[in-house]
């Protein structure tokens, strides 16, 4: 209504007090492929659908889950190229922190710095907000942690969360299934089941991606065969 007149410019508030471009960015995220994360007692798991536009695409060349530091990993929902830029900036910030303090960056600090970058792009001229929400999973001295960062630059800590197309069903499923004393293996199974809920077609090790971090504090993306093993266990 009155909002539409203010929806073209990022740096102008609408009369209802919203920045409409950011709302649109969240819509872009909402139409991206589902991804989710679950925090267990002894680790964190993040997972995403990896639906490729055609069977001719070489799926081994696509990796949606990336590591930012040896003990922090990230998955996104929304525009892939935007997430690449954020991953690059976050890795550099983590390395700069290490050079300055000679300490691996704590998860909250890295999330805060990434969120700051995303916020800068909502308050500058000539740029647009990032069309991705990130789920950051890490394990540091404070234990396992899971954070979600939105295009507006706000971030939240979650016990379990989902983003993308199937967000409402996935979140409802997670609310039912999540328990405080979940172990990492249970969390992986729950993640697979949640993805399976809204999955169109046959789920396999080639069209989902799972990343885990355990108490050894090394973030690892599971290989397709390892994912297949977990899928077999769930069946």
């Amino acid at each position: 209504m009155g909002d539409s007149q203010y929806s073209f410019s990022l740096t102008t508030f609408s009369p209802s007090g919203k920045l409409v471009q950011i709302e649109h960015a969240l819509t872009a995220v909402g139409s991206g492929q589902t991804s989710l994360g679950i925090k267990a007692v002894n680790g964190v798991v993040i997972a995403t659908e990896k639906k490729l536009p055609s069977i001719l695409v070489d799926e081994t060349s696509v990796q949606k889950i990336q590591s930012l530091t040896p003990n922090i990993g990230v998955v996104y929902s929304g525009m892939g190229p935007d997430s690449r830029v954020l991953v690059r900036k976050s890795r550099k910030q983590a390395e700069q922190y290490y050079r300055l303090y000679k300490e691996p960056i704590p998860v909250t600090q890295l999330v805060r710095e990434t969120a700051t970058v995303m916020q800068e792009f909502t308050q500058s001229g000539g740029v647009r907000p990032f069309g991705v929400s990130l789920l950051v999973a890490g394990y540091d001295d404070k234990g396992p942690q899971l954070y979600q960062v939105d295009p507006s630059g706000s971030y939240f800590s979650w016990k379990a969360s989902a983003m993308g197309k199937n967000v409402s069903n996935a979140k409802a499923f997670l609310e039912k299934r999540y328990t405080e004393d979940m172990e990492l293996d249970d969390a992986v199974h729950t993640a697979i089941l949640t993805l399976k809920e809204g999955f169109e077609g046959q789920i396999s090790g080639k069209n989902i991606e799972i990343g885990v971090i355990d108490s050894k504090r090394i973030f690892k993306v599971l290989s397709p065969s390892e994912v297949e093993d977990y899928l077999q266990e769930v069946e």
């Binding site: 550099k92 390395e95 050079r99």
Partner: protein, 273 residues
């Protein structure tokens, strides 16, 4: 205000603004402030399974030994190490910075770092500072293309060699290498030769001393042998301490104040207003 613009440092990098002034001062006789140098012996050689690096552990500040057991073999990547001679701050900073850049590069490519990558990053940095970064390095490592050993000079030139020495003790160490090096050494022979070369530097060069550090890098593995040899052990004061027998006995303690001499000036001039 133009005054503030001049005093603000340029964006990043070394500011050469004061170099002309410093040269003028030196011509007038001002001695530059001394900095911590590693008058050093650093060596590297390629053996059949990889690369062995060696270094002494003395850091000097002019004629004084500033650090008796410093670390001159710096980490660059899990499969690449670098020995540094020259100004200690320069070698530390440059290897730290390139190690950081290599780490980011590993994240972006998902691959093990290559020795030539480290070499190129180091030499471009040193060249852009035109020799003012006084770091002479021996870079060695094993990557997918095999074992590599390079030397890097402060102005940015590099050599690729099967055996190399740098630092003030380099001639002493090179004498050992030139007479005893051959291709296809085993690990034990290689380590022994490196230790011998460093010892030659330690005993024959004033700028090198204390202990021997060795680092053996092979495909998929590296052993950092800190203080591999300690040929200069310190003999410490015995734990029992010293006991001095009493030869004199105090009989009396008396304090005699000296008489104060006070001069009284009569009829001195009054203070002038």
């Amino acid at each position: 205000m133009s005054r503030f613009e001049e005093s603000a440092p340029a964006r990043g990098g070394f500011s050469f603004d004061l170099c002309k002034r410093n040269e003028m001062l030196m011509q007038k006789g001002l001695k530059p402030s001394s900095y911590l140098k590693t008058g050093t012996t650093i060596v590297g050689l390629v053996f059949q399974d990889g690369v062995i690096l060696g270094a002494d552990t003395r850091a000097t500040e002019g004629p004084i030994v500033a650090d008796k057991n410093c670390e001159k073999i710096h980490y660059m990547a899990p499969n690449i190490y670098c020995c540094g001679a020259g100004t200690a701050a320069d070698t530390e900073a440059v290897t730290d910075m390139v190690s950081s850049q290599l780490k980011l590069h590993r994240f972006h490519t998902g691959r093990e770092s290559r020795v030539v990558t480290a070499l190129t990053l180091l030499k471009s940095h040193l060249f852009s500072y035109q020799g003012h970064v006084s770091a002479a390095l021996v870079l060695g490592g094993v990557d997918v293309t095999g074992p590599h050993l390079h030397t890097i000079y402060p102005h940015g030139s590099t050599d690729t060699l099967p055996f190399a020495t740098m630092g003030s003790g380099s001639l002493a160490a090179m004498a050992i290498f030139e007479s005893k090096y051959r291709e296809g050494l085993t690990r034990d022979e290689g380590v022994k030769l490196v230790a011998e070369a460093i010892c030659s530097g330690i005993f024959n060069d004033l700028g090198s001393g204390s202990n021997v550090d060795v680092c053996v890098i092979t495909k998929g593995n590296r052993e950092y042998l800190r203080n591999y040899m300690l040929p200069n052990p310190r003999t410490y004061v015995s734990e029992k301490g010293y006991s001095f027998s009493k030869k004199t006995e105090v009989l009396l303690t008396k304090i005699t104040p000296l008489r104060e001499l006070v001069e009284v000036i009569e009829g001195g001039d009054a203070m002038e207003e």
